[in-house]
């Protein structure tokens, strides 16, 4: 009987030990804020705000670090964009780390309130900084894709002169692809302009600019995809003619 009780106790402790940390993570900001507003004791309020602030900052630091790693790994993002955006993200990380230290050592409730509010108001990581960083990186990456498509079009053009292909048809495909590339470049220019206009001081405007920028990127995506399809068709035509020529030579 005693063994059974001991066994049951340890099993329950094990289950609780596994479940409690997972449950603790689910206590979100709104629950902490509710707890804060319901509490009447200043020292409790201070502790809640400190924990809330630290969690909010840590989430932002993780997101910034993720964005910085993605940017560093992105092969086609231009070096100047990488530098500019990378510096912006690093600046935010440094500012938030300083604020985290200040929150940890703050003893006054009023000062603490201001500091926790400044995590959102002075940084705007989710509304301005991250969309701006990701947006500029995506635009630059699509520019790289556009350059590669241009290169493919030029090579197809060169090969079409050497092979016995329907040049008019190939030229038409290349022209059509080049026109789509030009439209895509225009859309990418506009998207870049919108992301560059995003500013911490105007968070509402930043939301609109982000949506518009994304719309322009989607348009450019469609055009680049259309150009790629045309060029793949042209490449297939040339390859087919070249294969026929090779077969004839062998015979």
């Amino acid at each position: 009987m005693i063994n059974k009780i001991i066994f049951s106790f340890f099993s329950a402790a094990l289950v609780l030990g596994l479940c409690l940390p997972a449950g603790a993570q689910q206590i979100n900001d709104s629950e902490a804020l509710k707890e804060y507003s319901e509490s009447k004791i200043e020292s409790v309020k201070i502790e809640i705000l400190k924990t809330l602030g630290e969690n909010m900052i840590q989430r932002r630091l993780n997101a910034l670090s993720y964005a910085r790693n993605l940017l560093a790994q992105a092969r086609l993002v231009a070096a100047d964009v990488k530098d500019e955006v990378g510096e912006m993200l690093e600046r935010d990380e440094a500012g938030l780390a300083t604020l985290k230290d200040e929150i940890e050592s703050e003893g006054s409730l009023d000062a603490l309130k201001n500091k926790v509010q400044s995590i959102v108001n002075d940084f705007r990581i989710y509304i301005v900084e991250l969309p701006k960083a990701h947006g500029l990186a995506v635009v630059s990456h699509y520019r790289g894709m556009s350059d590669k498509l241009d290169q493919l079009a030029d090579r197809i053009n060169e090969f079409s002169r050497e092979a016995d292909v329907d040049k008019e048809k190939i030229d038409e495909m290349i022209d059509s692809a080049k026109n789509l590339l030009l439209s895509a470049e225009k859309n990418l220019d506009e998207a870049e302009k919108k992301y560059n206009e995003m500013d911490i001081e105007w968070p509402t405007r930043a939301t609109t600019l982000n949506l518009e920028g994304r719309g322009k990127i989607i348009d450019a995506q469609g055009e680049l995809n259309g150009a790629f399809t045309k060029l793949k068709q042209a490449a297939a035509e040339i390859k087919s003619v070249l294969a026929d020529e090779e077969d004839e030579e062998r015979e």
Partner: protein
């Protein structure tokens, strides 16, 4: 009684593991496979002078078709990467920057 049984089980397990360790043969002690007398290395005459890799490119320059394929494959990779980057942009949770009412 239970303690005794548990002790015996542990002892038996340790003995089995120990016995297993002794059975491991070092690579240098393993028997070497030698070819039988029927198997002989081919002579230069048997190999002949025909270059079986004759079709391969000598100067390393790819065929036009191969070059186009390589470029297309590269662009497909770029397009896929761009798609992932754009998804990351779309997935940013802007709701986390709501003003705090404290």
């Amino acid at each position: 009684m239970n303690k005794l049984l548990a002790m015996l089980c542990i002892l038996a397990t340790l003995s089995l593991v120990g016995a297993g360790c002794f059975e491991i043969i070092k690579p240098e002690d393993q028997p070497v496979a030698v070819p039988s007398g029927d198997v002989k290395a081919p002579t230069p005459d048997e190999i002949g002078t025909e270059d079986v890799f004759d079709d391969e490119e000598e100067d390393g320059e790819p065929e036009p078709g191969e070059e186009l394929d390589a470029l297309i494959e590269e662009i497909e990779g770029i397009e896929a990467e761009a798609g992932r980057m754009f998804k990351d942009l779309e997935n940013i949770d802007t709701g986390q920057d709501k003003n705090l009412d404290i």
